[in-house]
Amino acid sequence: MVQLFDFEKPIEQLVQKISELQKFSADKEIDLSQEVAVLEKKVAFLKKEIYGNLEPWQKAQIARHPERPNFYDYIPFLFEDFIELKGDRLFADDRSIAGGIALFHGIPVTVIAQVKGKGTKENIKRNFGMPHPEGYHKAIRLMDQAEKFGRPILTFIDTPGAACDLAAEERGQGEAIARCLQAMSGYSVPVISTIIGEGGSGGALALGVGNAVLMLENSFYSVIAPESCASILWKDTTKAKEAAAALKFTAQDLQRLGVADEIVREPLGGAHKDLRQTADELSQVISKYLVRLRSEKPEVLKEKRYQKLRAIGVYQENSKKTLGISEKDLTK
């Protein structure tokens, strides 16, 4: 059974009550349809109430849900064909990043995606979605080919962050990410980056330098994991909820801050409640941006991507101006 979060339990309890009532009604042959109808309305209301007002920490939990669809789950719904291409040609094939050529709405595209595993065994194989330098090197290799052959690039982000172990340090994790950022910033083909789950820090950003940055409704994208942030700020990892709110990492926050271009709707309760519906929404939004970007000239795409990055940041330039910090300042 699908794992439930505490905040979902009132809904589940009501749903159970309805099924009990229906069973009782059937067993005893008493008509309770009116009572059931009332309760079902209440469920619908509760769902909207709860899922429509999720706090950042709750969204993070949904984004990390063990059954949240990963990149491989979306493939059959997003692409007519997908040919996975492996390896960095230097050291290894990193299974926390998948890459290849796909046919998207009839157009050949290069796809790069972070992949968490389902279950312990696959998670170990995929290092829980945390790429090593070879993963980023593979991404650069395949994206360079997309540029060479004029193919648009779609990236899908879903990682707690880049691998943080001795092996990653030895093989230059920092430089691998930096090279990825630099490479992506220089392409003349359309680049669309979508955060489909967890967007963890530099490890996520490495695939996030898109002309368009899209976010699934319950994904999050953060400079630091809320637990780590709480640990640094309050020496207390249990305050992750407060940190999650402070970090402003939801899709809505990121749209407001000029990073995310569009939010892709998920079914109530999250993508795992209805994979096909989520994939269809995702497919439509990506397609919309792809059509738009493909109409631009290569040099314009590159320049606009640069200007998009260039505009991210909030600061005060004229020291004579009062330093009131308000919503207005976000317009720079």
């Binding site: 430089e175 942030c229 640094i232 801050l257 990073v259 991507r305």
Partner: protein, 304 residues
């Protein structure tokens, strides 16, 4: 509330003179290169490597390098500038850029004020143009005393502007990084400064202009994963700690104890990540030679 600070400090072009005070960056050095200070401020400093008690005055005169064991103490941005730039040649850029608190992040405003007081600067980076042994160059220095050199919107913007100006002026860029990484308190905005600075360096590279990255103690996280790792030439100071994830986090997260010497400049060089390890005393002359060999006219390209 911030106003006073800006009135107090007027950042105009300052003169660089080799003997000026280089500190106070290491007055309270951070672990792991240095232990907690046990000596009263100002007069003496104890070398965290060899234990020698040094007169701060002597330490300053020796570019904050231990006179006994050559341990490199941390040094302020302006201290570095003084050691490198020709006298009166530095023109500071974008000093008026200061941080806001776009996320209304708990405690950030207070931290910014503290940092300004501690460092005597307005942000964690100093940028500008200077002559180095007569060669015009764009110089960028992280300031460790300002929130451990962390990169928020201002740091990203100042570095990006410096790189863009270098492109306009067709000048090489030298960046001294000292940083704990991206600045948590500006959230995603800080994260994207990594992409912004990397993109700007990409343009510099397309313009065939030299970028020398000098990594100093400590360089970690989002700074290692952006501008610090993109040098045509990567130089590190001896024994500087350089990495992506800090040793404490690796230990906590992966329950993995790093071997002795891991993440030092020497470890990084062994693993192919650093071109040159250069002591502070030789830094200026090494940079001058490298800059000179890359000056236009020195190369093949310009002769045809």
């Amino acid at each position: 509330m911030f106003k006073d600070i800006f009135r107090k400090k007027k950042y105009v072009t300052i003169q660089s003179a080799p003997m000026q005070k280089l500190g106070p960056s290491d007055a309270s050095p951070k672990e792991p290169t240095t232990s907690k200070k046990e000596l009263p401020d100002g007069l003496w400093a104890k070398c965290p490597k060899c234990g020698e008690v040094l007169f701060n005055k002597n330490l300053e005169e020796n570019a904050r390098v231990c006179t006994k064991c050559e341990h490199h103490f941390r040094i302020s941005a302006r201290g570095r500038l003084a050691l490198l730039a020709d006298e009166n040649s530095f023109e500071e850029w974008d000093a008026e850029l200061v941080s806001l608190d776009p996320l209304e992040f708990p405690g950030y405003q207070g931290k910014l004020m503290e940092a300004m007081e501690k460092s005597g600067t307005t942000e964690a980076v100093l940028t500008g143009q200077a002559l180095l042994d007569g060669i015009p160059v764009v110089l960028v220095f992280n300031e460790a005393d300002f929130m451990m050199g962390s990169m928020g919107s201002v740091v990203g913007e100042k570095i990006t502007r410096a790189i863009e100006k270098a492109i306009d002026l067709r000048l090489p860029v030298v960046i001294f990084s000292t940083s704990g990484g991206a600045r948590m308190q500006e959230g995603i905005l800080s994260l994207y400064q990594m992409a912004k600075t990397s993109a700007a360096l990409g343009r510099l590279a397309e313009n065939h202009l030299l970028y020398i990255s000098v990594l100093t103690d400590p360089t970690f996280g989002g700074v290692t994963a952006s501008y610090a790792s993109l040098g045509d030439i990567a130089i590190a100071e001896p024994n500087a700690l350089i990495g992506f994830t800090g040793p404490r986090v690796i230990k906590q997260t992966m329950r993995q104890e790093l071997p002795a010497g891991a993440q030092t400049a020497e470890f990084n060089q062994e693993h192919g990540l650093i071109d040159l390890i250069v002591g502070r005393a030789q830094m200026r002359s090494v940079l001058a030679r490298l800059l000179r060999y890359h000056q236009e006219g020195a190369q093949y390209g310009a002769t045809v």
